[in-house]
């Protein structure tokens, strides 16, 4: 799994951090997403898929390993 995030689309809701806190965080100053781990271990994949699906700005994209 390879994760990319769109910082311009991100609305700072923080849903991704609530679901997958080991993979996502937010910037202190404006709440925009910080990708902690672009290629997380398999045990994180289910949470990451849920985070990408519920993101209210559709700002998280998942691809297969390059």
């Amino acid at each position: 799994m390879k994760i990319t995030v769109d910082e311009v689309k991100c609305c700072g809701a923080g849903q991704c951090v609530l679901i997958a806190p080991e993979v996502f965080d937010q910037r202190d100053e404006d709440g925009i997403v910080i990708l902690l781990d672009a290629a997380p271990a398999a045990e994180q994949h289910a949470a990451v898929r849920e985070a990408a699906s519920v993101c209210p700005a559709a700002a998280i994209h998942l691809g297969e390993e390059a």
Partner: protein, 397 residues
């Protein structure tokens, strides 16, 4: 009930898409169909009143998923064909084109439509904002407009006023409340929002009602207030609330009352039928009341609950409500509910810096968190609501 072999989702916007995705993520391998009234692939609505209306984003940027992601979903999308009837007993849905499908499970995700202003329908220059076409049409007229009147001081009206003002148009925001978004934000934060609008040059007409829209030769020319005052306008935007899209369900046998009435599992009043998103009015066990939320994150959260319950999880849906709005330089986020009579404490930052987090309490118990330009810190304080055993939420208004 054993696992269904086929699911039909009626509605192809955020809630419908999220239901389909959640079903697949939870392992559903049966036939999945999504029926949508609009001809577009699923797109996101919050940017319509902001980035799309301002022109900052081209319309294609709000498409929620790419073609490859939708292909991977292995769902049939039937688009541009509004549902016209449901037979709840046989779970048979028919659409305007004559398309008909009988299925094991039906998910109702038809959303809401804007409440029209009586007498203003069909007048050129009068706009509502719900669809992509609405946003593009309004944007086109704002480019040439000198004076815009926005009728309605809720979230949508306030956002449209801010975006239009940002384009340099003279904007008057007319609302019944003491300040824009007073019912959503409570008097203190709504007061700050009102000052923000005034500082940016929006004329606020508070505590005001619009008696009628005035026109000349089929084109709007202003609004007449209850006081008799007439405001001239090239463009009038009507944002006076929404109604759930349930007219097509009137003969279905389902109980309808300000939305599709559901139990705590988001099940409508017939076997195998669920509702999700703006159209669903369900029993929130944590609050102990019926609730219908027109919030973007509710669409996806509730979709997860509905998908789980279709597949036998049997869990109540008890979210902490959340919404955000961006107006001028204010990014406002609200978790829980902010009662007008709540005790408000600034727990981070300061109002004078326009950067703070406020905790709202009723009877000492946390009921809501409001953030103003502090998204991360706001999310962290949300935990206070979760920790309160029953969420301690009070009903809006």
């Amino acid at each position: 009930m054993s696992a269904p072999e086929s699911v039909l989702v009626v509605g192809a916007s955020a809630a419908g898409l999220a239901t389909a995705e959640s079903l697949r993520r939870k392992g559903f391998q049966g036939t999945l169909t999504v029926l949508g009234a609009e001809r577009h692939l699923p797109y996101d609505r919050p940017p319509l009143s902001k980035q799309v209306l301002s022109g900052a984003w081209p319309p294609e940027r709000i498409q929620l998923r790419g073609r490859d992601e939708l292909d991977a979903l292995d769902a049939e999308f039937v688009l541009g064909d509004p549902a016209v009837s449901l037979d709840a007993a046989t779970r048979t849905v028919s659409a305007a084109s004559g398309w008909t499908r009988r299925t094991d499970v039906v998910v109702l995700a038809t959303g809401i439509r804007p409440r029209p202003f009586p007498g203003a329908e069909g007048l050129r220059g009068v706009h509502v904002l719900r669809t992509l076409e609405d946003a593009v049409a309004l944007r086109g007229e704002l480019a040439a407009a000198a004076r815009v009147v926005v009728v309605g001081d809720g979230v949508l009206g306030s956002e449209i006023a801010a975006t239009a003002r940002g384009l340099g148009v003279a904007v008057t925001l007319v609302g019944r409340q003491a300040t824009p978004m007073a019912s959503q934000l409570g008097p203190r934060a709504a007061g700050l929002l009102g000052r923000t609008h005034s500082e940016h040059g929006v004329r606020l007409l508070i505590g005001a009602s619009v008696e009628r829209v005035t026109s000349r030769r089929g084109r709007v020319c202003g609004v007449r207030l209850g006081t008799g005052e007439v405001l001239a306008a090239d463009v009038v935007v009507v944002a006076i609330g929404s109604v759930p899209v349930t007219d097509w369900l009137e003969d279905s046998g389902l109980v309808l009352d300000n939305g599709v009435v559901c139990d705590s599992r988001c099940r409508a009043t017939a076997e195998g039928i669920y509702a999700v998103g703006d159209v669903a009015r369900w029993h929130h066990e944590g609050i102990g009341a019926m609730l219908r939320l027109e919030n973007r994150t509710n669409a996806t959260e509730q979709a997860g609950a509905v998908a789980g319950n279709i597949l036998g999880e049997d869990r109540p849906y008890t979210p902490v409500p959340y919404f955000w709005t961006d107006q001028f330089n204010a990014k406002i986020q609200v978790h829980g509910t902010l009662a007008a009579d709540a005790d408000v404490e600034i727990v981070e930052g300061s109002e004078s810096d326009r950067r703070f987090v406020a905790l709202y309490r009723n009877g000492g118990r946390p009921t809501g968190v409001l953030g103003w330009n502090m998204p991360k810190q706001t999310r962290l304080h949300r935990q206070a609501l979760v920790d309160a055993a029953d969420h301690s939420l009070t009903l809006p208004r």
